[in-house]
Amino acid sequence: MSGRQARWLLVVLLIGEFVVLSRQLATTESGPSLLERMTVRALGPLAHAVTGAEGQLSGFVERRRRSRTLREENRRLQQRVAEMERELLRRQSVELDFQRLAAAVRYSREASRDLQVGDVVYLDHASARRSILVAIGGGAEVGQTVVDASGVVGRVVVASGRYAKVQLVTDPASAVGAMLERSRRQGVARGAGAGTLRLEYVPSTAEVRVGDRVVSAGIDGIYPRGLPLGTVEEVTPGNDLFLRIRLRPAVDFGLLDTVYVLPPVERPFEEGGAPDALP
């Protein structure tokens, strides 16, 4: 290939790549490109195979290591099961009381919805832990919320087959409607890089303490209300209007193994447009 041809090829390739980039920047509603979905679908099985092999190996080593303590652990777990069975009985009686009282005041609550379980097959270290690849049996849709037992992990940004790329809440491009659990004061939790979050738009007059829990507010149409996001780690006066609040995420992203994908948040006005004006 001559130098002139190589230069033309460079120009063509760069234009193509800028087109791919600009399609993402033009609108946030367009979703991931076909190329990106194909890449995730191609890399997902590879990452899955590596994770599986590593899991088998570490599982074998772990089983060998823990074989001596299994009996003691078994005894402890049996005690724990007995305690939990007692706790379950107590809660069942509370539930019965609740149903009786709810019937009296005609209160109804949303039925619990099914979760999908996903295995984390790849955690991106190279770019400050901003995304993970997850293998989900039934597949996922863009926008679904991903959580683990500790709290919010992020949301699905690319879904391709049974693999999904999840943008972590610590990604600087991520924003979650959030509120302080104690005071119900609302703000926006953004990724601050380096595995931390910051809570923005909380007025300087608000009372915020170190250790306050922050949960999702359910106002952004993506994340359901009440999911743990993190705890307040540092509060400093920001500019005149708002406090500068740093959060420690509820989830330890270095320990992610199994995650749960919540069903898409229903947007009541999306299908039929805005409801009629109230009388």
Partner: protein, 174 residues
């Protein structure tokens, strides 16, 4: 042959990169974030095969890296395309000893980081720029891996030539 070699090298590099990331989960992320095996392959192919192959392999490797990483899809692709082209042009225009080629690997890592940082400043509202120590770590790691790859390539080539010489001499004796 070039296509097969490039595809195989990219496949192996992607596999090893994923393994490295998984090991990073267990042993800490320092090494995992410093090493970019796909970049090493891009420079290696560019040095051996010229600007055309260099930039195409760079683009494919970049899209693969973007697929694994978060953020905008295409940033690494642009950076690696530029690096693939640049490394090959340097090789064509400057006569370099084998040992000095390591500097091309180091320079490629630096240029890649600069291009990504520049694109982030241009396109992202809140760019996340790599710290100086992490850039230096990536430069050093890429140069070291490049040296290792060149050394392995040299040994394989000399071994192959030696085997061919021995084979020819045996054939002549018969």
């Amino acid at each position: 042959m070039l296509f097969l070699r490039s595809a195989l090298a990219l496949l192996v590099a992607t596999f090893l990169q994923i393994v490295l990331q998984q090991l990073g989960n267990l042993w800490g992320r320092g090494v995992a974030s410093a090493v970019d095996l796909l970049l090493v392959v891009v420079v290696w192919i560019a040095l051996a095969s010229g600007p055309g192959a260099g930039q195409i392999v760079g683009m494919v490797a970049g899209f693969l890296a973007d697929g694994l990483a978060g953020g905008l899809y295409g940033l690494q692709a642009i950076a690696n395309t530029v690096v693939g082209y640049g490394a090959a042009v340097v090789r064509q225009r400057v006569v370099l000893q084998r040992g000095v080629l390591i500097l091309v690997f180091a320079g490629a890592a630096l240029v890649q980081q600069l291009v990504v940082a520049l694109l982030q400043f241009l396109l992202v509202a809140e760019p996340e720029v790599a710290s100086l120590p992490s850039v230096l770590a990536r430069v050093v790691a890429t140069a070291a891996l490049g040296a290792l790859l060149l050394s392995l390539e040299g040994r394989v080539q000399s071994g192959w030539r030696g085997w061919q010489r021995r084979r020819h001499s045996r054939l002549r004796l018969r």
